[in-house]
């Protein structure tokens, strides 16, 4: 079965995998703009960045879609240089961890060029980085650096959690965004299929309410949005708890009023992020709420993220390293009904069981 799949579903809606949405937006960008080109390790090979660039080199030629030497900093600097003269580069890192080799160019150069030169220089570009999880990714194939990048003014950081988010955001980024954008894609999402509507249904580069609810607010990022949605459904089915799920989506420039309005309504908060809690998205969500109104929360929030250690490889450790469906449901129920809620939790302790089609090695 092809990784990138699209199935028709009525007139407007259809089923499209995350990888398929990526491939469609990459294809459309290349078709629409001669200035666009894609470079990265393996973008033109048979795996095509997990199906997100497959066939594009054949379709658009080696001048538009090409492999590069192993040179993350060089590649990123080259992308900046081409952007400075009017091209639109898209670069890829098959693991986010490799983008750390490009940190100098991303943080010292790309993030600074617009401001440092008083608007004289612009380097609009898209850096696609993929977060790995499960099947023994280990310490250096699993990091999720949204907090790191979003810390630096000048960078726009997004974490699309669905095919729809990609269809809505990527064309807007490539067509209109004036600066460098880092999109943190999640490997677990690539093979999942989503129902999508025609593109530009929503305002891109902002924060969405993914599910309406009244009892507790769950602010989530990337694959944790799906985990939160599954947990919310369980909590509603088992306990009649109504959880509101907010997909932060834009990490560097979220719509904090959407978050604050939800918490003002529910008074309860769970934060579910793909990375560490310390100095991260969870901390920033709390800061944003606290500076608005210290009385927004009725009780302390619950936070779900990676355990405060590098990621272990052993499956038995990995399963308890990440927040499970069990813990996500427990967090929602505990917020609403207290620690002794007494409601049966799902037995699924390993996230991979919820992603049956995800199989290593890859």
């Amino acid at each position: 079965m092809s990784v990138a799949t699209a199935k028709p579903l009525g007139q407007s809606a259809r089923v499209l995998s995350y990888a398929g949405a990526l491939l469609e937006t990459m294809d459309a960008a290349l078709a629409q703009h001669p200035s666009v080109f894609i470079m990265g390790q393996g973008v033109d090979d048979f795996k095509g960045i997990f199906g997100s660039t497959t066939g594009l080199a054949e379709k658009y030629g080696a001048a538009r879609v090409f492999d590069v030497p192993l040179m993350e900093e060089g590649m990123t600097g080259i992308a900046i240089g081409s952007a400075l003269v009017g091209d639109y580069p898209i670069t890829t890192h098959i693991r986010a961890d490799f983008s750390f080799l490009a940190m100098n160019q991303i943080i010292n150069l790309a993030a600074k060029y617009s401001y440092m030169f008083g608007g004289l220089m612009r380097c609009p570009m898209l850096i696609r980085i993929v977060v790995g999880r499960s099947w023994g990714q280990g310490a250096q194939h699993s990091q999720s650096p949204q907090a790191t990048f979003a810390h630096y003014p000048g960078l726009t950081v997004v974490m699309p959690s669905s095919s729809q988010a990609i269809l809505d955001m990527y064309p807007a980024i490539i067509n209109r965004h004036p600066g460098p954008v880092i999109s943190i894609e999640h490997r677990l999402l690539y093979n999942l299929e989503f129902t999508v509507s025609p593109a530009a249904q929503r305002v891109p580069l902002t924060t969405y309410v993914a599910r309406r609810g009244n009892d507790v607010t769950v602010v989530a990022t990337s694959v944790m949005v799906l985990e939160a949605l599954r947990a919310a459904q369980y909590a509603e089915d088992k306990a009649g708890v109504s959880a509101e799920i907010i997909d932060l989506n834009s990490i560097s420039h979220p719509d904090w009023e959407v978050v604050a309005a939800s918490v003002r309504k529910t008074g309860r908060l769970v934060i579910a992020d793909t990375s560490w809690l310390e100095y991260g998205v969870a901390a920033e969500v709390c800061r944003q709420l606290m500076v608005r109104d210290t009385r927004l929360l009725n009780q302390p929030p619950t936070m779900l993220g990676m355990a405060p250690a590098p990621c272990p490889t052993a499956k038995s450790l990995e399963d308890i390293y990440y927040p499970s469906q069990h813990e996500t449901v427990d967090a929602i129920l505990t917020q609403v009904k207290g620690r002794d809620h007494g409601i049966d939790l799902p037995v699924e302790r390993s996230m991979t069981e919820g992603y049956k089609r995800f199989r290593g090695p890859f």
Binding site: I80, G81, D87, G118, M121
Partner: protein, 308 residues
Amino acid sequence: MKDEAIYRRLFRTALLIRLVEERVIELYPSDKIQSPVHLSIGQEAVAVGVCDALGPDDLVFATYRSHGFYIAKGGRLDAMFAELYGRTGGVSGGKAGSMHLAAPEVGLMGSSAVVASTIPHAVGAALSFKRHGSSRIAVAVFGDGATEEGVYHESLNFAQLMKLPILFLCEDNGLAVHSHRPVRQAYRLTQHAEAYGIPGRRLEQGWDMLAVREATLEAAARVRAGAPFVLEIATSRYKEHVGVGDDFHFNYRTRDSVEAWKRHDPLIVEASLAAALRPELEREIEAAVAFAEASSAPGRPELLTDVI
């Protein structure tokens, strides 16, 4: 004679750069220029000879020591002084200062304080030129220390793999802050480039503006024909690494090493030509300083503009 006209043009620009930086030295104690300055006094012939050999559309990507390249490429002098002053009339509204001069309208595509970091930008511009069938070339300007950084090697490799129209231009003043090249480099630059299949040349007479110009013309012609080239030009930094003073009293280098270079320096040797040109250039500089003095300081309305 044609060469004489070219020589006077080069000499005039080189003298302008020196007088501008000498004015910076005079102004510095007043604290009107509140940022680090890295003076190119002694190195002017490189910037002048190189830029004169380039076409107006060719692009230069430079370093924190780029007053010379800014002026030689044709950047506005008044906007430069206003930039050093941190004023709204500055080329970047005061947000850049001395270390980040840019003048994209004349092809100076930014300068960075992180060593070697603009080298791949020049490669990227050259990639775009090639992709779009342009006859323009890109020039990466860097010091000898920059060649020790990994991204320099990445840039050479990619440029040669893709046969990009890029000139790698090394200003070899032999110093990385206070460290001499022999304790830093296990390679000779042109031999190293040759290992990538990139031809190169070292010019010892970096004080000779015409020789620099000729070497650049030859290199640029080869680059424009579609292949990278490494041009290494020996030069001499008279002043301290950062700041406006001399640094011989720290004894990491000898005064003699600079004095030997000065005996070739045309801006010193040809005192009468310099004296003849000086009044006109000083009037130009005074006008630029007056522009900076009159320019307003940026404030809260500018603090958060152009972040994204």
